[in-house]
């Protein structure tokens, strides 16, 4: 296994050694069809231009454009700049701007980005909860410099970007029972697609459980004996954003189980501290296979 990993790692580095140093395919528009060209923009906006040029997107647009839109450089996103340039920077009437006080409506601003990005993860942007609330691409992303390793995020991490609005979720990371977000091993986008998705709550899959099964496939079954609330939604019992109860539970045991189990004897006993039913892992001391059992006598999820 370890040797396979090493081999994969080595192979993935090979292509870079074979890369040639061909001539740059730089192409910038200049003075055509009312365009002023990126070079003209750089005359006045030197600092922004330099920062943008150092980003991957800048590299692509300014040096290696793949199509006519990318060839427009700055004007691909900001629109024709001739009038702006000719007015000495006074007129911004035709320009598309992205700042907080931009007069360009959010939908129009987003449409600029969607010219290229309305595919793969952004396929369902229109009609999504964020789109419906007029959230702009530039509320989370910034194009003019590369603050983050990927995603051109406005904040240093995905979690911090989302936490601009979802403050409660940020504080939930500090709860004793949490996913490894604050350790940097997961991020909000591990489970959610903020650009829209076929599922509820902007999940990356079509149901809560299918998201969880991506990593916890052992709970997928189908099992011989299934626990109904588990099959329908893991979120019936768990709060994946963090909890002060064990295993990210929404309610502490034994009360969690007692919400639904009023059969007879021990499940209905209000219980005293210090017994098998309240100590250690409470109900799960015995009902350990609560996510489902494949044992012929596992109907009570004991084994």
């Amino acid at each position: 296994m370890k040797s396979a990993r090493l081999l994969l790692a080595s192979l993935s580095l090979l292509p870079i050694l074979l890369v040639g140093s061909g001539p740059p395919a730089a192409a910038q528009s200049g003075g055509q069809n009312g365009k002023s060209g990126s070079a003209l923009c750089a005359d006045c906006h030197r600092e922004q231009f330099t920062r943008f040029a150092a980003t991957r997107m800048g590299e692509l647009f300014l040096n290696h454009p793949r199509n006519s839109l990318e060839r427009r450089g700055c004007e691909a996103c900001h629109g024709p700049g001739r009038a702006h340039a000719e007015s000495g920077g006074e007129s911004k009437a035709d320009l598309i701007t992205f700042g907080r006080n931009s007069p360009t409506p959010v939908g129009e601003r987003n449409q600029v980005c969607l010219q290229c990005h309305e595919s793969t993860a952004r396929l369902f942007w229109k009609g999504s909860p964020h789109e419906g609330r007029d959230v702009g691409c530039t509320d989370c992303h910034q194009m003019m410099s590369a603050l983050t390793e990927r995603g051109h995020l406005k904040k240093a991490t995905v979690v911090e970007t989302c936490a601009q609005c979802h403050l409660q979720r940020k504080s939930q990371q500090l709860r004793s029972s949490h996913m490894p977000l604050r350790e940097g091993k997961m991020e909000c986008t591990s489970c959610h697609n903020p650009h829209g998705s076929p599922g509820e709550k902007l999940l990356v899959a079509s149901s809560v459980n299918e998201v969880c099964y991506n990593c916890h496939a052992e709970k997928r079954g189908p099992f011989l004996w299934e626990h109904a609330p588990v099959v329908e939604s893991c979120a019936n019992c768990h709060d994946p954003h963090g909890s002060n109860k064990e295993k990210m539970l929404k309610v502490a045991k034994p009360r969690l189980c007692q919400q639904c189990h009023i059969e007879s004897r021990h499940p209905t006993n209000p219980q005293l501290p210090g017994t098998n039913f309240t100590m250690n892992r409470q109900c799960v001391n015995c009902h350990a296979q609560i996510h489902g059992s494949n044992h012929p006598s596992g109907n009570r999820f004991l084994r």
Binding site: L17, E59, Y213, N294
Partner: protein
């Protein structure tokens, strides 16, 4: 111990000449085919000011490794073609540790992207567990003869860490030969090895053992897309395979030395998660129409299979040979199909108006044959129970339809009003669930205010009500008045407010409030009311280019009320045995921090502090004093409050970074973390209490003081002039 310091020191020494002499220049110039190389390295050492005992590391190292000694924090190599189009990078963090990350990437900008990521994630459950048995083979635990008594169980050897190690390897390839054509392939392999606690029981006397974990998840996703300006189409195939190297755990039972038909077996056997497989085919797309209208949707069909061979009913030799326990088929031969469909239509017929209609259908069609069992072994490997009516393993097929419309209207620029209606219908197997069909209706309204550039306000309100078919009995022994929370009639209310102020350049003040209320009007028993609210605020301020400050506060509170009845089979309807449980949470979180550049490009410092305190109480009372039963029954029916559970976490860290030259950075970091947990359920829990033998695991309080020194090295001669690596 010495070797831990050695590796980073050697690497650092090897790198040093490159920064000062000609070696670095030679290295850069000798890069293959004229490509340019960038290198950075961060390494150092850390020490606990007071060594943290292993028993206190369980929570501290839950998802990470923080060991004293030398460490290689980060190493990155980047290669950039002279024209900037081709890039390659290799990044490694926490090298050689349990939470190591390695990332490799090669790309032809915008055309080809190959990524490999290997992430190691530890999950520590405990460092205080004790266990008497010996693992004679993987998953088989043998106790000494004679069986240890309670005192001996409590003196058992310490297990060390009960921990899982995840190794997640992700290989992704994206090819975009043309703007309108894209292919993506992603293969993920998650390997989990180690142990986690597992309960096993016979006749209400549980023991806990380390469950051996040898799981592998293989996941392959292939996507082929065709993208035009006004039309996108995507085909996808997903395959997920779960493999468990072990199908059972067998453990000697400490409370029985011989197999007995009434008292249970001398050994216990539990079935572990079975191998399974899922795959699906999907088609998704979107088309943009005139009048700023777009229709998007998707259809996918999936299969799930599981055919792990069943274990026999019991390992208890006193009952195992009973003919009623003969299995009718060797495995479940599970066959479930998933159909998912969704369609969204969005239109902006007027600049001010945004209309959306959506429909979603999810169908989990479990076609597995419903097996029937004439007998079973109850209470763990306890007793043979021959059944009057065969026990049926019902299949939990279910489907869900969700539809909704909403529209937003811009009253004036920057002020938008939104209103919507949603409907959700769930259908379930009526032989397995008490409610076959339920409908939930939701109305919602929202207001967004962004008219003033220094103020943003968002408010939303939602009201929903769920009503189902008449509740019918599925399991005879259940209290008829119980309503289970996931299918019961429910009224739901949600309020969310978000405000953000930008009063000065560099100053941002955010505040959020949310309130939720779920009421179950028909639930005489079960969960009746669940309400919570949360208020949070954050201020970030950059008064100078060199200075950044922030502070935050959050308060969450929840209350939950449930009603139950203690039901002795002889007096199942004694209403004086009713009890009410009130559970409540109060969680307060503070955070503050900042950074300051003392000398630009030379000296800076920063600090961060968080504090979270949670108080959880579970109270219960009897509305009327229990009466009408035996003394033992009345004692069992009498409700009492559980002791309060409280947790505190306070991480604090501060750093001072000095850069004597552009290539070098020296960072001195102090980190303090304090954790306190008061939980009557696990505190001071000896492995064995009366009628139970636990591993004795708990997360202990800790105070960890750490001091670390990191040296960062990034030679300018090896740094490309134009790179974002």
């Amino acid at each position: 111990m010495r070797t831990r310091w050695l590796a980073p020191a050697v690497l650092l020494l090897a790198a040093f000449p490159g920064a000062r002499g000609g070696a670095g220049v030679a290295w850069a110039q000798s890069a293959p085919l004229g490509n340019r190389l960038s290198v950075s390295l961060e390494t150092g050492g850390r020490a606990y000011l007071e060594e943290l005992p292993a028993a206190e590391r369980g929570k501290f190292e839950e998802y990470r490794e923080v060991r004293s000694g030398g460490f290689l924090q980060a190493l990155s190599l980047g290669l950039l073609s002279p024209d900037g189009r081709f890039q390659g990078e290799a990044v490694a963090r926490e090298i050689g540790e349990r939470d190591q990350l390695v990332r490799l990437r090669v790309q032809d900008l915008g055309r080809f992207d190959l990524q490999l990521r290997w992430d190691r994630i530890p999950h520590t459950y405990s460092t205080t567990a004790r266990f008497s048995a010996t693992e004679t083979q993987r998953g088989v635990y043998t106790l000494p003869t004679p069986r240890p008594d309670t005192a001996a169980l409590n003196r058992a050897r310490l297990l060390g860490a009960v921990r899982l190690q995840w190794d997640a390897v992700r290989l992704g390839l994206a090819i975009n030969p043309r703007k309108d054509w894209g292919f993506k392939a992603e293969y993920t392999r998650i390997e989990k090895n180690g142990e986690r606690p597992l309960g096993m029981t016979v006749l209400f006397r549980p023991q806990e053992v380390p469950e051996p974990i040898e799981h592998t998840v293989h996941d392959l996703k292939l996507t082929q897309g065709f993208y035009r300006q006004n039309m996108q189409l995507q085909f996808s195939y997903d395959l997920s395979v779960f493999r468990n190297e072990l199908d059972r755990v067998v453990a000697d039972y400490p409370f029985n030395a011989v197999d007995d038909p009434n008292a249970g077996g001398a050994r216990q056997r539990t079935a572990l998660a079975p191998d399974n497989l899922a795959h699906s085919l999907g088609l998704a797309g979107g088309v943009s129409l005139p009048a700023k209208t777009r229709i998007s949707g998707g259809l996918s069909y999936g299969w799930r299979r599981q055919d792990q061979t069943f274990l026999p009913h019991t390992i208890n030799s006193a009952i195992a040979a009973d003919p009623s326990l003969t299995l009718a088929q060797p495995d479940l031969a599970a066959d479930a199909r998933l159909l998912r469909f969704h369609l969204v239509a969005n239109s902006r017929p007027l600049d001010r108006l945004n209309l959306t209609a959506r429909y979603r259908y999810f169908d989990f069609d479990d076609r597995t044959q419903e097996l029937e069992f004439p007998a079973r072994v109850g209470y763990g490997d306890g007793r043979l129970i021959k059944l009057e009516h065969p026990l049926t393993a019902h299949r939990l097929w279910h489907s869900r339809q969700i539809a909704g419309v909403d529209g937003s209207y811009r009253l004036v620029p920057g002020v938008q009003l939104k209103a919507g209606y949603g409907w959700e219908q769930a259908k379930r197997n009526p032989e397995a669930r008490e409610v076959g069909k339920s409908d939930e209706h939701t109305t919602k309204a929202a207001l967004d205010f962004t008219r003033i550039d220094w103020l943003l306000l968002r408010a939303s309100y939602g009201l929903s009500w769920r009503r189902g078919d008449p509740y019918h009995e599925v399991v005879e022994e259940v209290l008829p008045e119980l309503r289970r929370l996931d299918i019961a009639d429910r009224d739901r209310e949600r309020v969310e407010l978000l405000g953000r102020l930008y009063p000065l350049e560099g100053l941002t003040i955010s505040a959020a409030y949310s309130r939720g209320l779920d009421e179950y009007p028909e639930s005489a028993y079960g969960l009746q009311r669940d309400q919570n609210w949360s208020a949070s605020g954050e201020v970030s301020w950059t008064p100078l280019d060199r200075l950044e400050l922030y502070a935050g506060y959050a308060r969450d509170q929840g209350e939950l009320r449930q009603r139950s009845r203690y039901r002795e089979p002889s007096v199942p309807s004694n209403t004086s045995f009713d009890w009410v449980g009130n559970s409540g949470d109060r969680i307060t979180t503070y955070s503050a921090g900042g950074s300051l550049v003392l000398l630009p490009d030379r000296l800076d410092l920063g600090a961060s502090w968080d504090y979270s305190r949670s108080v959880l109480r579970m109270h219960a009372f009897n509305p009327t004093p229990p009466a009408g039963g035996t003394a033992a029954q009345i004692r069992s029916a009498t409700a009492t409050n559980f002791p309060t559970i409280e947790q505190k976490l306070m991480p604090l860290s501060a750093y001072l970074r000095y850069s004597p030259a552009a290539d070098w950075a020296l960072t001195l970091r102090y980190a303090y973390e304090k954790f306190e947990d008061t939980d009557f359920r696990t505190d001071g829990l000896y492995p064995a209490i009366t009628n139970a033998a636990f591993l004795g695991q708990e997360y202990r309080d800790y105070n960890a003081h750490l001091l670390s020194v990191t040296v960062g090295f990034r030679p300018a001669l090896l740094r490309p002039a134009r790179s974002t690596l």
